[in-house]
């Protein structure tokens, strides 16, 4: 599904990613772990197409298509979803209106008709229930005054609505207490299928107790320095990152 080849990326002429290689197949869950500043969030932003980052070498291929020439929204239409570490607050736009716009613009981008209002409402309710989201929450302004847990739950709610092929969860566990973490992880697990893939980016092993990865990669200084199975995460938890440098 996703194939990253020798990916180099800069921001402000500073090289952050220094040759990343990664293969993710449909149905798989991958985790990328690493210390602060190793390039984890850069990798997720580059896949999603953030313009500030300049790809200097290599490629990101999704289902056989090079993403280089596509704007972030076009990547979203092709099935890329990035759950933000720090979701942006948009006062004046409700959660419901935002997701309606996102769904309909995505459908437009995919050459589909807009979803009828009734079906939209049904879908919103269904997915809100899945993530144990209160209905009242849906009429609040997007992320405005949300707690850390509410913001992350809202991210996964949007993911549930958009049904991406590749979901990237960037530090989704940060700011979550254990109960919120379980709800979020449970939501992700329910959305998992043989047709989609999940890339979990995290500093700590904690989230991986609930979203169990098939593969774990360690990112250090812009390169993947070690890959392994889920047991690698436990080893990192125990030993820290220093032994890999």
């Amino acid at each position: 599904m996703l194939s990253i080849k020798n990916l180099h990326a800069n921001i402000n002429d500073k090289e952050i990613l220094k040759g990343i290689n990664l293969e993710i197949k449909a149905g798989e869950v991958h985790a990328i772990m690493g210390p602060n500043g190793s390039g984890k969030s850069t990798l997720s932003a580059v896949i999603a197409g953030k313009e500030e980052y300049e790809v200097t070498e290599g490629s990101v291929i999704l289902n056989g298509e090079d993403l280089a020439d596509f704007a972030p929204e076009e990547r979203a239409h092709k099935g890329v979803f990035l759950s933000f570490q720090y979701p942006v607050e948009i006062p004046g736009v409700t959660v419901t209106n935002f997701i309606k716009t996102a769904i309909n613009e995505t459908r437009k981008g995919q050459g589909l008709k807009e979803l009828p209002a009734k079906e939209m409402l049904k879908l919103i309710r269904e997915k809100a229930d899945l993530l144990e989201i209160d209905r009242k929450f849906l009429s609040r302004s997007l992320n405005e005054g949300f707690s850390g847990g509410e913001k992350k739950r809202n991210e996964i709610f949007q993911m549930a609505m958009l049904e991406p092929k590749l979901a990237i969860l960037d530090e989704t566990d940060s700011g979550l207490d254990i109960d919120a973490l379980k709800v979020v992880a449970n939501g992700v697990n329910k959305l998992k299928s043989k047709d989609n893939a999940v890339l979990v980016i995290t500093h700590y092993q904690r989230l991986l107790d609930y979203i169990v990865p098939d593969f774990v990669h360690v990112l250090h200084n812009g390169r993947i320095v070690k890959s392994g199975g889920k047991e690698l995460a436990l080893e990192l938890e125990e030993k820290g990152y220093d032994w890999l440098k």
């Binding site: 979803f81 942006v88 948009i90 981008g109």
Partner: protein, 440 residues
Amino acid sequence: MDLKEKLVSSFLAFENKGGLDLDSKVHSIRLNAIQNFENEGFPTKKDEEWKYTSLRPLLKHDFSLFPSNEKAIEFKKVKEYLINDIESYTLIFIDGVFSSYLSSTTHEDCDVCVLSSALTRPKYKMVVDNYFNTIAKNNNSLAELNTAFTKEGAFINIPKNTIVQKPIQILNFSTGNEKEVILQPRNLVIVGENSHVQIIERHQNLSKNTTLTNSVTEIFVHKRAIVDYYKIQNDTDNSSLIDSTFVSQKQQSVASVSTFSFGGNITRNNLEFYHEGEHITSNLNGISILNEKQHVDNHTLVNHKFPNCESHELYKGIYADKSVGVFNGKVIVQQEAQKTNAFQQNNNILIDDGATINAKPQLEIFADDVKCSHGCTIGQLDESALFYMQSRGIPKKEAKALLLFAFGNDVVEKIKIPQLKTRITKLIAKNLGVNLGFEL
């Protein structure tokens, strides 16, 4: 002959032709006003209050001062400019002349009619004695000009203890009968004790010809009365508007004026609030969304003269292309006005490099136990918010529009007439060039 000379020399003809009573008190008010205008003339950029807005390009036009006879207009031609999904009283003026055919007036529980009758009928003697031109005469030569040529406009007189159930819409149309025309509507609104009224005002050019409207509105708000006044400014790009609105408030009254500026060539809004009692609330709201070479100047004044009053001012601006915005918000807190709460906020977004905003908060505080604040911001769109929305599949153009929508939303939220709120939302969407498929 320049425009000023032309106006001054036409004054006699105006009074004679108009069949106006030359023995009346109104006549002496007019006469006084034309003399003041003759002395002061049009303001220039040397005048501190007009530093950022030049009328010069407008004054070059060879305006007709008295548009020729009323052109018959069908309702369907003006319908779209009305909020027509709501029951309302309407006062419609075509080239400055009242159209009884298109309007819907009343004298039942209150007077919703025309100023010409209020100024001439003995029944309304108190209007001329107590109200007309009592607050509009402050050092504003354009208001003087309007007073000199006062002939027609809306007259809204709400007796005490009356809740006017239907909003009142005032619409001024110009038909383009003349190539270049100057219109001077004059409105007078009197709201009695404990009464409540909602008013929507709009100026609309139905042709491609040039129109300059010099409008004056006086609003008197008695004890505990509530007035919500909305101004929709979405005229064509060859229409300019100078609007002077004066509000006088008695104790415990609440007056709100909201100005939505989306169109027109040059628009100047002078909005002044005068307090005549304690525990008064004044609300001033505005959004300007401009592009091309549009120019909107919001000049506001709140004069706190009595203790325990408050004013809330919120103006937002979105400027694209080479458009220009001006915000000059003056708040005076006089020495007696202790315990005043005066808040002022002006937030602006410049979308293009060629756009300009001149923002000038002006607080003059002579009392020592007050809460006053002001804040001006000028910024660009938040790139990280744009990326966030794009990553959810929303294209950049729509994402920008959504952010701009959200930016102006707290002003739109203050609209108390749902149908008007829907209309304004649609106008904003249209102005931003998107169809978002929902109402915020």
